[in-house]
């Protein structure tokens, strides 16, 4: 053994005072933690470090990706044929549904025009892939292969085929990190489809459970109720399914019900997700991020009555959401115009329950004696600034 020489080295090292070194390292890490927790100073640093570590994640993902590739390529011919047949049947059924949806949508737009409220513009989506990487075991976080270069931005909503998955929390150029709806730090503004009751669904740290902690004992909610995003807060577009209520427990002596829900998206089997570009958000976000989006959205309604197009940024064709409300007559929800972000544009996906359950929402929208129909954004924008905060507070308590 080389113990003796190493010992002498150790003594020499001790003279160089590990205490001082530890003091320095500790001070550095405390400063880093403070900056990372309290502000956005380190976003850029994190982005660079994240892209440095991205190859590692890709490497880790590669066995899983390889296995999938093998499965797809080695599949038997018969299986491919049957799969093809089922997919074709599904596509047929879906397109039949879509036809009906188009009619409903046109009808909905007409009604909304009659009510003088804003028309819902179809959201644009991009497909992202979740890397098979286990992140921090204590959080429900995933790593995506789409980042700022693909137009993804912080706060962007993620959905899958069956419901809301989460939102992007950190953009790292070529990749990004997202928080799942079941993370204890996550909160989604939701409403109950049956009666339009609005509340907030918080993550619990359990992939199969969301909790709705802010419902009073007399709230009208029961097991089996479908929860959809309410669109308040601005982060999530309205109308996407979030989950179904599983248990409603009023037995505790609390003023609030204990309500649990099961997430609609299959969070434990995620492979591909859709990044949703909200048309209103698309005005400001591709360049900036969630931080710059809120002020921009808040500023729009003020300037709107005077010159409708002036607030739209450089790219000349203003996104439909900014233009359409100015003239309620022309509210045909036409094919969504594709804008700057050069991302892969997949077919436009519609929020399923499009008819925005009336009793609660509609009065608030119509009762505002607004100059134009652009009355809807202010509450949205204001709530948008507030809602991440509420989520955090809820979690810290």
């Amino acid at each position: 053994m080389a113990l003796s020489s190493a010992d002498s080295e150790g003594r020499a090292y001790r003279n160089a005072s590990p205490s001082l070194r530890f003091f320095l390292a500790g001070a550095c890490s405390l400063a880093l933690m403070f900056l990372d927790h309290r502000g956005t100073y380190l976003e850029q640093v994190r982005a660079y470090l994240g892209s440095a570590i991205y190859p590692l994640r890709v490497a880790i993902n590669s066995p899983a990706a390889g296995a999938r590739w093998m499965r797809e390529n080695m599949a038997l011919r018969e299986r491919l044929i049957t799969e093809n047949a089922t997919l074709r049947r599904e596509a047929l059924a879906n397109s039949a549904e879509l036809q009906r949806l188009a009619a409903l949508q046109a009808e909905n737009a007409r009604f909304r025009a009659l009510l003088d409220s804003r028309t819902r513009v179809p959201d644009r989506v991009v497909v992202g892939e979740i890397l098979a990487v286990d992140m921090d075991p204590l959080r429900h976080r995933v790593s995506l292969n789409k980042g700022g270069r693909d137009g993804a931005y912080e706060g962007q909503a993620l959905i899958d085929a069956s419901g809301v998955v989460g939102q992007i929390t950190r953009d790292q150029q070529d990749s990004s990190e997202a928080l799942l709806v079941t993370d204890p730090d996550h909160a989604v503004p939701v409403e109950i489809v049956r009666n339009g009751l609005r509340t907030i669904a918080m993550g619990t740290g359990d992939l199969e459970r969301l909790s709705l902690p802010f419902l009073t004992r007399n709230a009208d909610i029961k097991a089996g109720d479908l929860l959809v995003t309410s669109g308040l807060g601005g982060a999530f577009p309205a109308g996407y399914p979030v989950g179904t209520v599983t248990t409603v427990d009023g037995s505790s002596g609390d003023a609030f019900l204990e309500v649990a829900a099961k997430p609609a998206a299959s969070l434990d089997r995620l492979h591909e997700v859709l990044l949703v570009f909200q048309q209103r958000g698309a005005v400001a976000t591709p360049a900036g991020g969630s931080a710059s989006a809120a002020p921009a959205a808040a500023a729009t309604p003020k300037a709107e009555p005077i010159k409708p197009t002036a607030t739209a940024p450089a790219p000349a064709p203003a996104p439909p959401a900014a233009v359409l409300p100015a003239e309620p007559a022309a509210t045909t929800p036409g094919p969504s115009v594709e804008e700057p972000p050069p991302a892969v544009t997949t077919p436009v996906v519609e929020p399923a329950p499009n008819e925005e359950t009336a009793p609660v929402i509609a009065p608030t929208e119509t009762s505002v004696p607004a100059p134009t129909t652009e009355a809807a954004p202010p509450p949205d924008a204001a709530a948008g600034a507030a809602s991440p905060g509420t989520g955090q507070e809820g979690a810290t308590e």
Partner: protein, 163 residues
């Protein structure tokens, strides 16, 4: 000629990969914290060349890879390295079982520091995902120690300062 240090850093990268590899949910809580074990081993055996600052760097890498608060693991690993440096002369003459116990204690302390920081930023969580890695590290330590000893002896054989 001094023994090269890059194999240690290569091991650190491999440890990061091992910590990020997807595992079935059932065994996930028992995934050992490889990076912490590496920091303990190398600051124990090469105190002159793997110290507090190296541990700090490893911690930063871990923070970025896991997406945790930047500086969190940097602090906890610096602390672990510092304690090992202070105690390495005693620890090295320990028999294996005693050494394993002290490694266990160090890992426990590190987990506690991480928990404390999580609590200060509002997300303290107890449970198997927090303490599983500590237990697993205790179980895996003898194996890691045997493997690292062989590697270290090969590196030191080429090193005149260890002769």
């Amino acid at each position: 000629m001094r023994a090269p240090r890059w194999p240690v850093w290569l091991l650190v990268v491999l440890a990061l990969v091992a910590e990020l590899l997807p595992l079935p949910a059932a065994v996930q809580p028992l995934r050992p914290a490889w990076t912490t074990m590496l920091v303990i081993y190398w600051s124990l055996m090469w105190p002159g060349r793997f110290g507090v600052f190296s541990a700090f760097l490893v911690g930063l890498l871990v923070d970025v890879a896991h997406g945790s608060l930047l500086g969190q693991h940097a602090l906890s690993l610096s602390l672990v390295a510092y304690l090992v440096l202070r105690l390495h002369l005693q620890m090295r003459v320990f028999p294996l079982w005693q050494l394993t116990l002290s490694v266990f204690a160090l890992m426990f302390l590190e987990a506690f520091v991480l928990l404390w920081i999580d609590g200060a930023t509002g997300r303290a969580e107890f449970g198997p995902a927090r303490w599983g890695p500590v237990v697993a590290a205790g179980l895996f330590w003898p194996i890691l120690m045997a493997a690292m000893d062989r590697l270290r002896e090969r590196l030191e054989r080429r090193d005149s300062s260890f002769a």
